[in-house]
């Protein structure tokens, strides 16, 4: 099964720009399905980015983040070919992790 995480990390000059897109329903728990039943909350709560053994960014998310969530940030440092580790955990305890090469 392919990873749920897509990462694009691009080093230019002194900074590395990171964009991530994750496949996840991000159900808020406030929406009803076609039958009128509440779709239970199911969303990523925490997403972390690690570079060189150090945390460079943490996202704490609620059910108000869009389906297939997207985030973009940048950090100082990072070289082409280096690895960036990305992990998430959702409110049901599911997790996924991937490692992306900085371009």
């Amino acid at each position: 099964m392919a990873s749920s995480i897509r990462v694009r990390a691009t080093a230019s000059g002194e900074t590395t720009e990171v964009q991530a897109l994750i496949q996840h329903p991000m159900d808020s728990g406030f929406i009803k399905d076609a039958k009128g039943e509440i779709i239970p909350a199911h969303f990523i709560q925490q997403l972390t980015f690690e570079y060189d053994g150090k945390n460079v960014f943490t996202a704490d998310w609620g059910g108000g983040v869009s389906k297939d969530p997207y985030v973009k940030f940048a950090f100082k440092g990072g070289k082409k070919g280096d690895e960036l580790k990305v992990s998430w955990v959702d409110n049901k305890g599911a997790t996924d992790t991937t490692t992306a090469k900085i371009q």
Partner: protein, 164 residues
């Protein structure tokens, strides 16, 4: 201390933040090398803040203090969201020593949408896509040097997308 919502983690968080503020007053500035450790101590998911209905309660649960509007916080958001299910919103700031950014939507059933921790060395600019139930004020809070600054903007939603 401010009003604390249910949950142990929130209590712990507020206390920690209080300690941070004290350190700030005492030392003038937090030494640079301490910043990552400070961030690491805060890596717990802020459960209570994500349960608060109003943005004021969420900000209190998250930071234990209130935010002041600042023109140094710039929010980029559409005038009219193409669809409430996917509203691209980003923040940039010229403030120094930013430790976190949070996005809130007043009219959503849960006001707090996302909160980002910014360790030293990470730029304080973040872009993301959020859901909006209806036309609402969107608030971005930036925590910098232990203080809170905010910007807000009304985004019109014609197709509601809370959870879409």
């Amino acid at each position: 201390m401010t009003i604390i919502h249910d949950g142990f983690s929130a209590t712990r968080r507020v206390i920690l933040k209080g300690a941070g503020a004290v350190a700030l007053v005492g030392l003038g500035n937090i030494p640079f090398s301490l910043a990552p450790a400070f961030a690491a101590a805060n890596d717990k998911y802020p459960e209570a803040a994500f349960k608060a209905k109003s943005e004021a309660d969420a900000i209190k649960a998250l930071y234990g203090k209130t935010a002041e509007p600042s023109d140094k916080v710039k929010m980029d958001a559409p005038e009219i969201a193409e669809n409430g299910a996917v509203v691209p919103i980003s923040v940039t700031t010229t403030l120094a020593d930013v430790t976190s950014n949070s996005f809130l939507v007043s009219e959503n059933p849960v006001a707090l949408v996302a909160s980002y921790k910014i360790p030293a060395g990470t730029l304080p600019n973040v872009a993301n896509r959020i859901k909006m139930a209806r036309t609402s004020n969107v608030i971005v809070v930036v925590e910098a040097g232990g203080k809170l600054y905010s910007a807000n903007k009304e985004v019109k939603v014609t197709v509601g997308g809370c959870g879409g």
